[in-house]
């Protein structure tokens, strides 16, 4: 219910422009919030800059560094400076990787996007099919099994599932590689398609399984709704077979809401990818968020937060647009 409310917010009836403006305002404010949070945190930027070697510099050098890093300015000034740099395409320099943040993101984002995109598609496809099955066989054994397993899947911690999959498929059965996105010493693009899919299989499976539950339950409700509707009864009276009813009425009325819901849950999928990438040692953006957080690398953390806020913004925008399209269809 909560997630449905997120899909169809109360301003959905107004023009597209206001929606985009509001979402954009949210995006800017979220970045501001993240910046404020990081500046409030007790992390010492000078210490991080020196790689934890705070006592290696004299007081005078430290004062110079403070000026050089802009730490003598207020948070607002720092933020403005950061924002100006951002507009000119400079995200700062990561002390952890000794690389500029935009290069790291350029390097890691495609991998993360591939992982998230594949698991998005997989969970949509499998979740929809299972939900459709459960709805069509409402109250029967299949329905009960699917319902219970959706409930179970919603409760499973994703990192634990990932660990179990590793110990089953990689260690016990040695079917899949143990970690990483590619064999040692190779880049992701250099390996064969077979080894690529082997490396991607377990992380995608973990993410897809954990994020499937809402789609299953939502599709089931929707299918049951459609099957109980007047137009399906009418279609039955005209002697349409069950297959015709399903392919003409049920599919058309339940696919789009499922997709909208799934776009709106993009944020959760991204959060899940942080865990999955850490468990599988997958060199994507999520894993580098964790590394940056643990190593107090503020610039990298801020860059990753920006990217994830952008991703969520896009997901919400698409969900909003689609739901508006759906509502428009209903009001006609």
């Amino acid at each position: 219910m909560v997630s449905l409310m997120a899909v169809v917010p109360k301003w959905a009836n107004s023009r597209i422009f206001t929606t985009v403006a509001r979402l954009f305002l949210q995006l800017v404010l979220v970045i501001l919030l993240a910046y404020l949070l990081l500046s409030w945190s007790p992390l010492d930027p000078i210490n991080a800059y020196l790689g934890g070697n705070l006592y290696s510099v004299s007081a005078q050098q430290k004062a110079e560094l403070t000026v050089q890093l802009g730490l003598d300015q207020s948070v607002a000034q720092q933020f403005l400076h950061w924002f100006n740099e951002l507009i000119s395409g400079n995200l700062g320099y990561s002390n952890l990787y000794q690389q500029s943040v935009s290069e790291i993101i350029k390097d890691k984002l495609p991998l993360s996007l591939l992982l998230i995109g594949l698991s998005w598609l997989a969970s949509l496809f499998m979740g929809y099919l299972l939900g459709l099955l459960a709805g069509l066989f409402q109250g029967r054994f299949v329905d009960r099994v699917i319902n219970q397993s959706a409930w179970l899947l919603a409760c499973i911690p994703s990192f634990w599932l990932g660990m179990l999959l590793i110990s089953l498929f990689s260690v016990a059965l040695s079917l899949t590689p143990v970690c990483c996105a590619a064999p040692i010493g190779m880049r992701f693009e250099e390996q064969s398609f077979w080894s690529m899919s082997q490396h991607l299989l377990l992380p995608v499976m973990t993410l897809a399984l954990v994020h499937m539950a809402p789609i299953i339950l939502h599709t089931r409700e929707k299918v049951i709704d459609v099957l109980n509707s007047d137009y399906v009864v009418y279609s039955h009276l005209h002697g349409d077979s069950k297959r015709q009813v399903v392919s003409f009425h049920v599919l058309k009325n339940s696919v789009l809401p499922a997709i909208v819901l799934h776009f709106a849950s993009f944020a959760e999928l991204f959060g899940g990818s942080i865990l999955a990438e850490t468990v599988f040692n997958f060199p994507g953006l999520g894993a580098s968020i964790v590394k940056a957080g643990l190593a107090n690398d503020t610039a990298l953390l801020m860059g990753c937060t920006l990217i994830s806020a952008l991703l969520v913004f896009c997901g919400n925008l698409i969900a909003n647009g689609l739901s508006k399209y759906l509502l428009a269809g209903e009001s006609k």
């Binding site: 919030l33 499973i156 660990m163 016990a172 944020a267 991204f270 643990l294």
Partner: protein, 292 residues
């Protein structure tokens, strides 16, 4: 409450969860004794969950970790729900407050949950208090949104409008007409939040932002287990996680049955009234028929 007791499944689940927690709390061994002779043993009858790389009994460790996870998670949930209720109340004050509360909710919900948790954990530092604060501050928006929705419904009802027009003070209206409807929802929201909080807490500790690895907690156990996963010690991951999963399932079952009762709550009284009314009406009708 009576309806809850009439649901055998929910009562059984609740009792067993309570029993599990109590026995875990009073479990004699703390699971910190190092016994190098019996290290890396697979689960057996003496060691139900096996032993780890130092020969510590994993069953005792998991039980203690479960208790401490429930304790910390419970504190975080109570804080978070109180915050949610206060925010929802603030939204009642006037238009501007409502707008800012809505904006804040949207804001907190437009970052991935785990990323927000990481940022908050960094702000508050990784200790127990930091973890509690991070979870409390990141879980309130959903409940606030739900409560705001409920409040809107109540604020549109005639009795609420009338009470307002009769000139009662806002606090009296709030206490007499809003809270009695809101508190069950709030309670259910807290129950539904609990499994989420536990999972997120374990996840955060697993990633290294939460509790110290030396304190017993589910996340710490699992993150240590992940280092020994490749040596084939599957029980280190499976058993504590399984215990966590079972308690999460029990919690969510409980929350769902309470939710069902709260949703159907008013119906019970009306059906009982209706059955009484029917009993009274039926004889009268019969009399009427006879007279005709």
């Amino acid at each position: 409450m009576e309806r809850f007791l009439s649901q055998k499944g929910a009562v059984a689940i609740g009792c067993s969860l309570l029993l599990l927690l109590l026995s875990a709390f009073f479990w004699p061994s703390s699971g910190t004794e190092i016994n190098l002779l019996n290290k890396n043993m697979a689960p057996s009858l003496t060691y139900l969950f096996g032993t780890d790389w130092l020969g510590r009994d994993l069953f005792s460790r998991s039980l203690k970790a479960l208790v401490s996870s429930f304790y910390i998670g419970g504190m975080a949930v109570i804080l978070s729900c109180t915050l949610a209720l206060m925010m929802a109340m603030l939204a009642l004050v006037n238009r501007y407050f409502r707008w800012s509360v809505d904006l804040l909710v949207d804001l907190f919900m437009s970052l991935p949950h785990l990323l927000l948790l990481i940022l908050l954990a960094l702000v508050f530092g990784g200790d127990q208090q930091g973890l509690v604060m991070a979870i409390a501050l990141s879980h309130w928006p959903r409940l606030t949104r739900l409560l705001r929705f409920e409040m809107q419904v109540i604020a549109n009802t005639p009795y609420f409008q009338l009470a307002k027009q009769f000139g009662h003070s806002p606090l009296v209206i709030l206490k007499r007409h809003m809270l009695p409807h809101l508190l069950p929802q709030w309670f259910v929201g807290a129950l539904l939040l609990f499994p989420h909080a536990l999972t997120h807490m374990a996840a955060l500790t697993f990633l290294g932002f939460g509790l110290d690895p030396s304190t017993p907690s589910m996340g710490a156990l699992l993150s240590q287990a992940s280092q020994y996963l490749l040596t084939g010690m599957w029980w280190l991951a499976l058993c504590p996680g399984g215990l966590l999963l079972i308690s999460l399932l029990m919690l969510s079952y409980l929350a769902n049955s309470v939710l069902k009762i709260v949703r159907e709550g008013p119906q019970t009284t009306t059906t009982s009234i209706r059955s009484k009314v029917n009993l009274e009406i039926k004889p009268r009708i019969k009399v009427g028929v006879k007279n005709a």
